[in-house]
Amino acid sequence: MTDLIQQLINGLLIGGLYALVALGISLVFGLTGMVNFAHGEVVMLGGYLTFTLTQSFGMPFLGSLVGSLLAGGLLGFAMDRTTFRYTRGTPMNGLVISLGLIMIFQSLAMTIWGTEPLTMDVLFPGAFQQWGLSLSIQKAITLVVTAVLIAGFGLFLVKSRAGRALRALAQEPEAAVYVGIPVERYIALSMVIGTALAAAAGAMFAALFSITPFVGTSLTAKGFIVVALGGMGSAAGTIAGGLLLGVMEALGAGYISAAFTDAYGLLLFLLVLSFKPAGLFGVSGRVKL
């Protein structure tokens, strides 16, 4: 029983990060129909920036997390203004551009940080040890920060004027235009928020694991599985999908074999889509943020 609870904690921790990565993908896809394959590279850059800010400049973790979040948002804005805005209406062009951006970001990371894996020092030493369960303070902090970011994003979507506008755009784009919502501005905002969340996920990823210029690729793949699992464009579904994927991987690797960790997620994906083709929270033919 203790092991099962430990595995659930393990799963929720990694699942929360998956959800954070996937929220950005879901947000941008929901509004533009574009698949940004370079999203994982923003996670990677956020991780490297946090690493540099904490290890080289001695900034506290939370400060460097905010720095990465802001830099991620800025990067998203730059990507949108310089490239993606010209691909509106032709999502395939956006997809191809995002593949090019992967190479640019990976080469940039290799040039600046090299190819050796980088691992942060333990920023918060110690662990909670109770009833045979173990949770390091570093993991506990990232778990709390992830939950805060996800909850904050949820509140933003539901309570704020901008969040309501984004949801309206995703659900009924034409009606949103008629009521005077500036589409272009909100699409740019979705890119900013999505990449900011990705960079924040990268910050937490770097606090827990080693980073290399190539970690983004598998995180993008997981992000897409989570989005499809939860239902394309559904924020609640994305969060649920992320946590479910994390728990599924933890239980599979913990109780069956570690050699097929990625396969457990795909199995879950196939299983869910067999019964609910639109995903857990998705509605066929509609996007719901």
């Binding site: 595995q7 190819t115 690797a253 570690a258 990625d262």
Partner: protein
């Protein structure tokens, strides 16, 4: 005017003719060697180290006067290629190097998933090929793999020396083995398991994980429930550091050990700062953290001078290439040819060489050499040099 034009044309033609002939002379005095490495992609840290090893050796070789065959002096030219860590790219590069460039030898790649398909091309083209892949252990001595030189210690020899040392140092009674799910770890782990059992150590778990794994906690939790005295894992710095950190957080075992495939510089430094009772790391070649030999110290100084940076965690993979360039050059001189691979390979086999490593190559082309083992106990790191060459 017409005369001016004629003169100009004449001068241009003469210059072109001279240029062509001088290029021809240059080409005659150059021996090309191929250096296909992962300069980008997931295996870039290994590839860049291997490429640096060849580059440094070639420069030094040419500085010493190159290779002399008869009365002719030859300069060695390194043809550097980036495999991008992709199998398809590696195979096409091998085709280009052997058929178009007609290189006299190929050095690399480091990683077996690339060099193993790559050697199919070099062996068909009768080109001498140097590489450290564990997968090559099974190829050595085969008649159709005559031109391979395996630049890493034979697994049986390596682990046959390491496992008794590890058990002697830690007095462990049980062990859990954890490796990346690839041919290298799948080849090593069963051998380690057998050697452990021979030493009276119970193997309580043998687990393999996917290369993309970053979160090891699910299966470390399971391994913890088996209560092993030691967690033995490998084999990249990225895996090693993460496993060590997460293993310590979960209290998986009191003792930790990581095996060859990395210099383990980064995990060693990490372990020093953690409450690990003991950590034993086996490096693939010589350690670069606290060199045990002057030759290694000098090599590090040369590396720093050339690349203007400190050696990284995986830089010791340069040693899987560096000395072997000189071994090949010596064989070419002795054979009196660089085009007849049969004659050159005969001069490489059954030889010894003392460079940065102390190397002995057997009749199959299998090169064995000494290696270092680092032991951390109570926050102190000491090194032992393991002699496998009798």
């Amino acid at each position: 005017m017409q005369r001016v034009v004629q003169r100009t044309i004449g001068v241009v033609l003469a210059a072109l003719a001279l240029g062509i002939s001088s290029t021809g002379v240059q080409a005659q005095n150059v021996i090309k060697i191929g250096a296909p490495f992962s300069l980008s992609g997931p295996f870039a840290s290994f590839g860049q180290a291997g490429s640096a090893g060849v580059e440094m050796a070639v420069e030094e070789l040419n500085r010493r006067g190159g290779i002399t065959i008869g009365n002719t002096k030859y300069t060695v030219q390194m043809i550097s290629e980036d495999t991008r860590s992709q199998v398809a790219d590696t195979v096409s590069i091998m085709e280009r190097l052997t058929r178009e460039q007609k290189v006299a030898a190929v050095f690399g790649p480091i990683v077996g998933v690339l060099s193993t398909p790559g050697q199919e091309v070099t062996q068909a083209a009768k080109t001498i090929h140097f590489g450290p892949a564990v997968q090559w252990n099974a190829l050595m001595g085969r008649p159709d793999k005559k031109y391979l030189v395996h630049t890493q210690v034979d697994d049986d020899l390596r682990y046959g020396a390491f496992v008794p040392l590890l058990v002697r140092e830690t007095k462990i009674k049980s062990i859990a083995l954890l490796g990346v799910n690839d041919a290298t770890a799948r080849s090593i782990m069963p051998k380690v398991a057998a050697l452990m059992q021979k030493e009276g150590v119970k193997v309580v778990a043998e687990e393999y994980f996917e290369r993309t794994t970053t979160d090891f906690s699910p299966f470390l939790t399971r391994i913890r429930s088996q209560k092993p005295d030691m967690l033995f894992f490998g084999y990249g710095d990225n895996f090693a550091v993460s496993i060590l950190r997460q293993g310590v957080e979960l209290n998986v075992a009191p003792h930790y050990s990581a095996f060859a495939g990395t210099s383990l510089t980064v995990p060693m430094q990490q372990a020093l700062g953690k409450p690990v009772d003991s950590f034993i790391g086996m490096v693939a070649n010589e350690n670069l953290l606290q060199p045990l030999h002057d030759d290694v110290t000098k090599w590090i100084a040369a590396y720093k001078a050339k690349y203007n940076k400190d050696p990284a965690g995986t830089t010791d993979w340069a040693f899987s290439m560096y000395d072997y360039v000189f071994i090949w050059a010596r064989a070419v001189q002795q054979a009196g040819t660089f085009t007849d691979s049969d004659k050159v390979i005969e001069k490489i086999r059954n030889t010894n060489y003392k460079g940065v490593l102390n190397i002995k190559i057997d009749g199959r082309g299998q090169a064995d050499h000494d290696y270092d083992v680092g032991i951390i106990r109570n926050g102190k790191l000491t090194w032992q040099h393991v002699n496998v060459i009798k």
